[in-house]
Amino acid sequence: MKKILSGNEAVARGVYEASVHYASAYPGTPSTEILQNISTHDEIIAEWASNEKVALETVIGASIAGGRSFASMKHVGVNVAADPLFTFAYTGVTGGCVLVTADEPGMHSSQNEQDNRNYAKFAKIPMMEPSNSQESKDMIVDAYELSEEYNSVVLFRMTTRVCHSKGIVEFGNRKEVKLIPYEKKFDKYVAVPAIGRKLRHKVEERINRLKVYSETSKWNYEVDNNSTTGVISSGISYEYAKEAFGETVSYLKLGFTYPLPSKLISDFCDKYDKIFIIEENDPYIEDFVKILGKECIGKDLFPYTGEMTPDVIKKYALSQNLDGIELDEDLFVGRPPTFCSGCPHRGFFYELGKKRKQIIVAGDIGCYSLAVGEPYNMMDWLICMGASLSSGHGAQKILDLDPNNKKRIVSILGDSTFFHTGINSLINTVYNGGNTINVILDNRTTGMTGQQDNPGSGFKLQGDYSTILDIEAMVKAIGIKHVRRINPNDLELVKETINWALELDEASVIITDWPCVLKKKYREEDFGLYNDMWKTKDIVIEDKCTGCKICLKSGCPSLIFDPENKKVIIDSNTCVGCDVCLQICPFDAIVKEGLDE
């Protein structure tokens, strides 16, 4: 059977064909859809983990217990999971195990551009890099064979364009793989120093065996086009190179990229007058080629950042510029993403914005990072998952060294980010006597990546009900004495709560409690909590609208200012009746539909 699949869908198909038993992940662009697609197979246990470290650890346990296991995460997620990864590299596996890292050359949806190929070398584990959807599927199946044969987790490195591009995939058959009965293996899995020292030698032996494999791996091969120039490439860069150079050059296509094949590369370099290394991010292949003593052209010619798309290759390697139609920059302005109509974050940021001069906002990763832009401009920094609470604490300690300091830190993160690593940070703030204002925007889902379930959403990935984590009880258990849980669409209440927190000289937590407008699944009891959710619309009474534009400060995309009529209208196709604009309007010109008489 043939189907058009994204790289992510193809990986999920491969996981199914390889008869994987257990899969876990934390959502993160561009990796999220992998586990979502895996979860559609009843044969596989698929679970959202609370963070990437937890995901990898559950998968390690599944492998130790004798199952084939799988974890996927975005590149920065591997940083979170690095601790277990580096020791798992020592212990090796029982059931085969693959870890997908989804890197982001060009940073489409990420805070950095780190090249996780370096992790394979750093952790001393084998690595594969697919170039397209078909390879994404086929390589995953093979990765499990290699994982078990070489007794190691395999790092499977993808990039945004491999993950999110679709191509035609020929399916294979599912091969049933039985569980390996559990046996206690003290000398393999108990990584105390005495055993770690022994395992260290095994790691080296494994790498030496893999070096031999790499030379003859079916994923590393030459395409001889009888040319004078050779190109060495891997991943999506190989497809870009083929597009740019066509058959004018010969290729060394590398799919198994740690350890790299020394002899294959050496021999290839010797055959050609000129060698180009086409790769995104770091000079990973290039450095290796240079260590082999071979001349090549890499980052000294090509850009060190961004994607190596065919136009980039043509520009730098062939001095060809694609002349398109000229852009007229007067004809467009930016269209940044913004909070959806009805987003529960809107009311909170609108009110918080009024305190701009008194506060510093420590931000975090999630939809609320959109508050960085117009009309909110509400973020002083943003580092990584969970860092708002802890970086805010450290900043407040320094600010308070000045006895005249009046600035307060407001640390803001969402429910899923709080579960991810924010909990640790909040424990630290309480323990060390911090006095920050900590805001948990609980929208009952993992919003930015597309409404995935989490420990507070009430559902597990494969549909069953689950315990709903009680954030308020948890925060109190940590030791926070000042906690309020509020409806963020009630602006008066939001304002009063922010003032309350600013008056306190101890750490406080504000939990805003209203679901994401895009949340897909609800429990019966939810509807009791959120009255008339999304069932109404707000409208403007034209006669009362003075055109003052104050409502536009809410940043709602449903509000449209009509420059001819000099009045605001509400787009009834998108308004969900959250009433934020209704409360902002100083002239009572906005009302609930049907209630204006």
Partner: protein, 189 residues
């Protein structure tokens, strides 16, 4: 030789679905097809784009600046923003519709004037009143199928099985209105 069609618009307009239907049609016709999209902003009123490349054999899934054969824009300002993706001699298909962005909504910067008048001279341009006809059909969401109908005519691909691909891509209760929208699109070219 491969062909490149870039779909652009604003989150929520159904550009990705239109590109997916296009892919299904091309695969059924025996082409090698690749499609690329950048996720994440589609439901948040940001600019969105999907890229479809097809031919006997396709390597790169992305369309670079200056290399699209056709730019199909579901919104005026998005057409202007992406004109540099069109190759010289390329074709522009644009929905005669404006959607404000956060920047134009707050009144500080106006939505640019005379976009269509300014860009139509730069490429062979088809202006489609998709918004108007979708409203007449009673569902603005079928703008994408109207645009796709126009594209199918411009590509001279009426012999391909579009109906099958549409049937497989939309919910049964919306099939009728989507097929109507598709025919309206064809009649606009």
């Amino acid at each position: 030789m491969s062909n490149s069609i870039k779909f652009v618009g604003v989150g929520g307009q159904g550009t990705i679905l239109a590109a997916k239907i296009m892919c299904a049609v091309l695969i059924n016709a025996g082409y090698d097809v690749k499609m690329s999209e950048i996720h994440g902003m589609s439901q948040r009123n940001g600019s969105v784009s999907s890229e479809v490349r097809y031919g006997e054999k396709v390597y790169s899934p992305v369309i670079e600046k200056g290399s699209a054969d056709i730019l199909i824009s579901f919104e005026q300002m998005e057409a202007a923003r992406n004109m540099d993706y069109l190759k010289k001699g390329g074709i522009l298909i644009v929905n005669n519709h404006k959607i404000n962005s956060m920047i134009t909504l707050n009144g500080k910067t106006p939505y640019p004037k005379n976009i269509i008048e300014s860009i139509r001279g730069k490429a062979k341009t088809y202006i489609i009143d998709a918004q108007k006809y979708a409203n007449e059909l009673g569902n603005v969401k079928v703008v994408n199928l109207i645009m796709l109908g126009a594209l199918s005519k411009i590509l001279d691909s009426r012999h391909l099985d579009w109906e099958k691909a549409i049937k497989e891509s939309v919910k049964p209760r919306f099939l009728d209105i989507n097929l109507k929208a598709f025919s309206i699109g064809i009649s606009q070219v």
